[in-house]
Symmetry: C2
Amino acid sequence: MPQISLKGKEMPASPIRKLVPYADEAKRKGVKVYHLNIGQPDLETPKPFWDKLKNLDMKVLEYCPSNGIASYREKFAAYYNGIGIDVKANNFLITEGGSEALSFAMMSCINEGDEIIIPEPMYANYIGFATAGNIRVKPISTNIENGFALPPIEDFEKAITSKTKAILICNPNNPTGYLYSKEELMTLREICLKHDLFLFVDEVYREFLYEKGPFFSALNLPGMEEHVVVIDSISKRFSACGARIGALVTRNKLVLEIALKFGQARLSPPSLGQIAAEDLFDLGKEYYDSIVAEYQHRRDVIVAALNKIPGVVCPNPGGAFYAVASLPVKNSDAFCQWMLEDFSYEGATVMMAPASGFYSTEEAGKNQVRIAYVLKADDLKAAAKCLEEGLKKYAEISVKELAR
Amino acid sequence: MPQISLKGKEMPASPIRKLVPYADEAKRKGVKVYHLNIGQPDLETPKPFWDKLKNLDMKVLEYCPSNGIASYREKFAAYYNGIGIDVKANNFLITEGGSEALSFAMMSCINEGDEIIIPEPMYANYIGFATAGNIRVKPISTNIENGFALPPIEDFEKAITSKTKAILICNPNNPTGYLYSKEELMTLREICLKHDLFLFVDEVYREFLYEKGPFFSALNLPGMEEHVVVIDSISKRFSACGARIGALVTRNKLVLEIALKFGQARLSPPSLGQIAAEDLFDLGKEYYDSIVAEYQHRRDVIVAALNKIPGVVCPNPGGAFYAVASLPVKNSDAFCQWMLEDFSYEGATVMMAPASGFYSTEEAGKNQVRIAYVLKADDLKAAAKCLEEGLKKYAEISVKELAR
């Protein structure tokens, strides 16, 4: 049998999805599973999306242009203008989710074997995209003690080598929920200008802001027109994860031109999602206010509930809909699997994403989990209670095992 | 300004799409453009696809599983069983078009710097996917004189090195339309077993067969369960290019497992296209017969018309809806651009894909073009006439320039 590739062996399995078989098995046994593992919002995809599909009058579902449907890009640009970012339709390359946008950005801007600096914990799939592109991730530690704030500039300086080509942050952050301030972005600007680095900023959660807002987009950093590449997506903004419509946004024309060659190779992003989503950019303040209020309530509920559990620490996130919590366990991978395989409380259990997969540094974050607060507040309360009971039981078992 | 990557520089621009700006300019000047450059069928996407979208009763457009929606994979497997291929739903990984399936196959099976053998001319984007994965394409020449048949086994033996990991063919072929026989596939089987190579076969055009059928799928090669990876897509079969729904099909469980890790990194393929396409697998013989009859007629019309033009040679394709023709010009890139920029006949011109981009060998195929016969027969006749007049005019200009 022919051998598979080294890259294939090195690709990380998704920490968000690798426990799915255990969750499926739990469900087969009749256990209800609270899914806090994945950023799949339960909020409805807004009605204009479905209406557009219902009223389609098309005969042939054609390829669209490799950079996306022109009218969709126009609407997208108008939405950017509306939030104070001065870009035009031709600054966008529409992609298959934010995932593809980041892959394209990495492959267009970073040589194989070269380095990208990313504060960790980081969105797990960044490591996957880097592995696929043979790019080295240089993590910079952030700490749960100060809510995962941007590390001091010296930490970046220490990590930069002649092979460093870019810095990547997610703002507001997945998995920590940390919202970077304008000052922190200005610090990153300074570093990028000094060392001539690209600054990739994943802003897919930019609407999900709580009391620490307003949001400052990297596209508004002065003098960074050639350096900044923003990753965007409609998945979370419009609760349309299955549409697979993202975007790469930059004023750097060469990056757009190069990324478009990768785009041409895969022909085009999905047409249906763009067509259906176009009118969603007309949704006004009311829509965004309502989703933010809902998530803020959920955040308040889950963060309070988590911090009440003995031994659990969870900083209060400023944005997005994730939190990283540390648990009184040694190995959250084993614990999360145990919760699905061997535990239930009142017929239910909780699925979380072990944080180890969000760290590029070996053995880091072993006692942490990522929590996506994408369920209704009552379910979040029930899930927290279930987690509390699970931790109790797990501690008892551990004590017994030690006594053996 | 930070530098873009070497890979980005090396990525080929799509020969199918790179002339689009010239076509757009021609249209702005009021010239009608016959698009023979791209395999975008004009046939209608079947009604059940649109009906499904009209009648959707969903609230949230969620991510689907990374390997695709289970019910879609079941239907897909049933369609395979119906055409005599014994696979199950878990042999499929649903992807963002055939493009992503081939990218995943390459990255999962071939190390960076290692080699894949592909008969040329080849589908241009194969070169792009290989470039993105830092994989070397080793082309094997096929010739217009014998209709681009599989080269003798000795040519493969000569090309195989210790770095060769796979052979890739497209059957029926894009761009040549050549239909590989069972005997030719058995020859490839022999080579792959002898050298322990993967055999990737892009079968997205398997329904588009003319008198030389029936089709023999690589999945039915005996003793090749671990070696064969088939690339599939609904784009052409159901004229649904914009859905971006493809598949990687294999009985090699390890390849599926590894490819799934790349799939998890990008979360999921588009949900909408799968949901809408599911019922299309219920379309029977009547549907396939009607599309084959239509394309066969078109093929007969365009191939006859092309071969009547002085100096043009076009072998008769056995399948798919492409043909490669040689033209009486030195450089088809320049000629195709000239046709769009400087020529029209009765208010129209023709857009073709210069074949140079379908060759990995430098300077090969410079006098050839790929023709996609995806227009109605009358339009194909008009396009051929327009090409004939263009070639006449181009020859006159060339003579004048030589005389200068």
